[in-house]
C-alpha cells in the first residue's frame, strides 16, 4: 500500500491520460495498467462534448481515483485557479501541480510551483508537485506540506528515462513523503529501475500512449513497477568496485592451526 496523505493506493503506477489515440484506447490502457490514480488535464475537461471529454469516462472507472492537473498554467495564480476548478469538477482531493511556463519543453517552474503549493496546501489539497529533480526544492515542498514530490526523470515526451537518477537518489534519501518519478520514462525496465532505487511510484503517459499497443504497454508497466518494488523490498545486493570473493579472505584469522 502506498499512502499519500490520508489516501491509500494499491498500485504504484500513476497514469497520465492525454496523448491517446482515442478515449477507448486510454480506458483500455488505464485498466490494463492496474493504476488507481490517473491525472487528467483541466484543459481536456470538456463538458460541452462527451466525445472529446476525458473526465467523464474516467470518472466512471471503479478503483481509479482522479488527480486533476494544472497543465497549461504559466504561473502560481493560474495553477491555483485551475486546481480549484479541477476540484470542483472532479471532487478529488488530489492535485497534480504543474506549472510549466515554456509550452514546448514543459519543464517545471520551481519558483511558481513553490508559491502555488503553499496556497494549495492551505486550501487542503493533497498536493503532488511536478518538479525538477532538485533535492533542496523537494525538501522545501515537503516542509510546507506537500503530500508527495514528483521529480522528473527527463523532459516530458523525450523518453530519455532516468537521466536525473543521481539527483533522484538524493531526493529519496532525504524525503519523508512519497517520491514519484514523473516524466521521461520510456520503458517498463526504467520504471522497475525507479522503484528499485526506492521511488514510491512512477507517473507515465507518453510511454504508454505512444506505444504501438498502449494497453499491452500498460500491462507491461504494471509488471515492471511490481518487479521493481519487490526488488526494493527484497534488498538489492551491494555493488562493489572490485570482485568480491565468495569465500571470505580473512577466514584464516578465525581459524586455528
Amino acid at each position: 500500500m502506498l499512502n499519500i496523505g490520508d489516501q491509500k493506493l494499491g498500485s504504484r503506477l500513476f497514469l497520465g491520460t492525454g496523448k491517446f489515440s482515442s478515449t477507448r484506447a486510454m480506458i483500455d490502457a488505464v485498466k490494463a495498467s492496474g493504476t488507481e490514480l490517473v491525472t487528467v488535464a483541466l484543459r481536456r475537461f470538456n463538458r460541452e462534448q462527451a466525445e472529446d471529454d476525458l473526465y467523464g469516462p474516467l470518472s466512471e472507472l471503479k478503483n481509479v481515483r482522479l488527480m486533476p492537473n494544472t497543465s497549461g498554467a504559466m504561473n502560481a495564480k493560474e495553477a491555483i485557479r485551475a486546481a480549484l476548478l479541477g476540484r470542483e469538477l472532479s471532487k478529488s482531493p488530489f492535485v497534480k501541480l504543474e506549472i510549466h511556463p515554456n509550452p514546448h519543453h514543459l519543464l517545471p517552474d520551481p519558483i511558481e510551483t513553490y508559491e502555488a503549493a503553499i496556497e494549495l496546501v492551505k486550501q487542503e489539497f493533497l498536493v503532488l508537485p511536478y518538479i525538477p529533480a532538485d533535492p533542496v526544492l523537494a525538501k522545501r515542498l515537503e516542509d510546507i506540506g506537500c503530500a508527495a514530490v514528483m521529480p522528473l526523470g527527463a523532459a516530458i515526451g523525450t523518453g530519455k528515462g532516468l537521466s536525473t537518477a543521481e539527483m533522484i537518489r538524493i531526493i529519496i534519501r532525504d524525503a519523508n513523503v512519497p517520491v514519484v518519478v514523473d516524466a521521461g520514462l520510456r520503458s517498463p525496465s526504467e520504471a522497475a529501475c525507479a522503484l528499485e532505487m526506492g521511488c514510491d511510484a512512477v507517473l507515465v503517459n507518453s510511454a504508454i500512449a505512444a506505444a504501438e499497443n498502449p494497453a499491452a504497454m500498460g500491462a507491461a508497466f504494471k509488471t515492471g513497477v511490481e518487479a521493481g518494488r519487490m526488488a526494493y523490498n527484497a534488498g538489492l545486493m551491494p555493488t562493489s568496485e572490485v570482485a568480491v570473493a565468495s569465500s571470505p579472505l580473512t577466514r584464516f584469522l578465525s581459524t586455528s592451526d
Binding site: R43, E48, A82, G159, A210
Partner: protein
C-alpha cells in the same frame, strides 16, 4: 537581396550549400539539429529521403504530441481590405463582395461554430480598416471568449498597447505570416497599403508577445519566393522568438499558393512532395513546436500529413464572412478551401489513422495575458 534582413534572421550562410548523402542521413537522425541540419533536409538532394524523413517526423510527433491532433476553425469577421497583395482575392482592386459581421451576426456564427463542438477559434480580418479596427476586434474577442475556451486572431499588425487591449479582452494568440522573408519579393507582392511595411510586419510577433499574447503563429506563404530561403527564415524567426520569449508558444503553419487559386501564378511553385519535405524537415529540427496545416490543402495531403509532422489542423473552415450560419454565401472568400469535409468525416479519417481529434485543449482559466518582462 538580404541587406534589409537583421542578422538574427538572415539565412544566407546556409543557402546553396552542397550536401552529400551522408550529410542528409546525419541530418535526419540529428540529436542537436541546427540551421545546417535544416538546410540539408530542405535541399533538393534530400527529396530522395522522403520516407526516412517521414518516419522520423512521425516518431518525433508521436513522442511530443502523442496520437492526437488539435482542431480549430477560422472565423472571418470582415473581408474589407485596402491592401494590394497580388496573391489575394480580397485585395482592394478585386471586385469582391465586402462584409463585416455585426454583433448579432457574430453571435449567430459563434452559436453555429459551438454546435460543431469547437473550443478553439481564430478570428480573421483583412488589413486595418475603419470597419474592423482594434475596438471592433476587442468587442468581437470578448464576445467570442464567452463561447470558446481559446480565441486567437489572424489580423493586421498592431502596436504593443493595441495587442495588450486585445489580450485583456481574452485573446491568447496571434498568427501573422510574413508571407515572404525576401524583402525584394515582398515589396513586389504588396503593391500598396500598410502591408508594404516589411519591418512592421516582421516585428509584430515581438509586439504581440510583449503585449501579453501567450502564443504566436508564424509562417511563409510558400510559392512567393525561394521556399528554401523562406523556410530557413521561418526557422530562424521561430528560434529567435523562442530564445527571446521563452515562455511563449510558437507555432508554424505552411500555407501554400496553389496555381489554380485566384488566377495568381506562383513564381516558385511548391508541389506536394516539396511541401511534405518541408514539413518533415521542420518537425525534425523543431521537435516540440506545433506544426499546423489548414484546409487549403487537399484531403489526400491532409490525411497523409496528420500526425506525420503535423499536430494541429483546421477543419470545416468557411473563408467567407458569415459563412457558418448563412445559407447563401454573400461575401467573397479569401481563398478556396480544398478540404471541404464535414467534421464527422474528417474525425473518422483521423481515428482510422489511430489519431484522436481534440477539440478542447485549452481552458479559459488560462486566459490571463502573459508577462515576459525581464528584470
Amino acid at each position: 537581396m538580404n541587406k534589409n534582413l537583421p542578422d538574427w534572421l538572415n539565412p544566407e550562410p546556409w543557402l546553396g550549400l552542397a550536401f552529400s548523402t551522408a550529410d542528409i542521413e546525419r541530418a535526419i537522425n540529428a540529436d542537436s539539429p541546427n540551421e545546417k541540419t535544416l538546410a540539408a533536409l530542405l535541399s533538393p538532394q534530400a527529396a530522395d529521403y522522403l520516407e526516412p524523413m517521414a518516419r522520423r517526423a512521425q516518431a518525433i510527433t508521436r513522442r511530443h504530441f502523442g496520437r492526437t491532433i488539435s482542431l480549430y476553425t477560422p472565423l472571418y469577421l470582415s473581408n474589407f481590405c485596402n491592401g494590394g497583395c497580388l496573391y489575394c482575392g480580397l485585395a482592394a482592386d478585386r471586385r469582391a463582395q465586402r462584409a463585416v459581421l455585426d454583433e448579432t451576426q457574430l453571435h449567430r456564427e459563434l452559436e453555429a461554430i459551438k454546435k460543431m463542438h469547437f473550443e478553439e477559434l481564430v478570428l480573421l480580418t483583412g488589413e486595418r480598416m475603419p470597419e474592423a479596427d482594434v475596438p471592433y476586434l476587442e468587442k468581437s474577442i470578448s464576445i467570442a471568449a464567452e463561447y470558446m475556451a481559446n480565441v486567437t486572431i489572424e489580423v493586421f499588425p498592431m502596436s504593443e498597447p493595441e495587442y495588450r487591449t486585445l489580450a485583456d479582452a481574452g485573446c491568447t494568440g496571434v498568427t501573422l505570416y510574413q508571407e515572404t522573408y525576401n524583402p525584394v519579393v515582398y515589396e513586389h507582392m504588396h503593391r500598396w497599403g500598410d502591408k508594404r511595411d516589411f519591418g512592421n510586419r516582421l516585428d509584430a510577433p515581438d509586439r504581440a508577445l510583449r503585449g501579453g499574447m501567450r502564443s504566436v503563429g508564424i509562417g511563409a506563404l510558400l510559392g512567393l519566393a525561394d521556399p528554401v530561403f523562406d523556410m530557413l527564415c521561418v526557422y530562424r524567426h521561430a528560434k529567435y522568438l523562442l530564445k527571446n520569449y521563452w515562455q511563449a508558444g510558437v507555432s508554424i503553419s505552411f500555407p501554400r499558393i496553389r496555381p489554380q487559386m485566384g488566377g495568381f501564378q506562383a513564381d516558385f511553385p511548391v508541389d506536394e512532395k516539396m511541401l511534405a519535405q518541408y514539413i518533415f524537415a521542420m518537425r525534425i529540427v523543431l521537435p516540440e513546436i506545433p506544426l499546423v496545416l489548414s484546409t487549403r490543402e487537399p484531403r489526400r495531403m491532409r490525411d497523409g500529413l496528420a500526425g506525420v509532422g503535423i499536430s494541429k489542423m483546421s477543419i470545416a473552415s468557411k473563408t467567407t464572412v458569415g459563412g457558418y450560419s448563412a445559407d447563401a454565401e454573400e461575401s467573397t472568400e479569401q481563398f478556396e478551401i480544398s478540404d471541404e469535409r464535414k467534421i464527422p468525416e474528417f474525425c473518422d479519417m483521423l481515428r482510422a489513422k489511430g489519431l484522436e481529434p481534440v477539440f478542447k485543449n485549452w481552458d479559459a482559466t488560462y486566459r490571463e495575458p502573459a508577462h515576459y518582462e525581464k528584470s
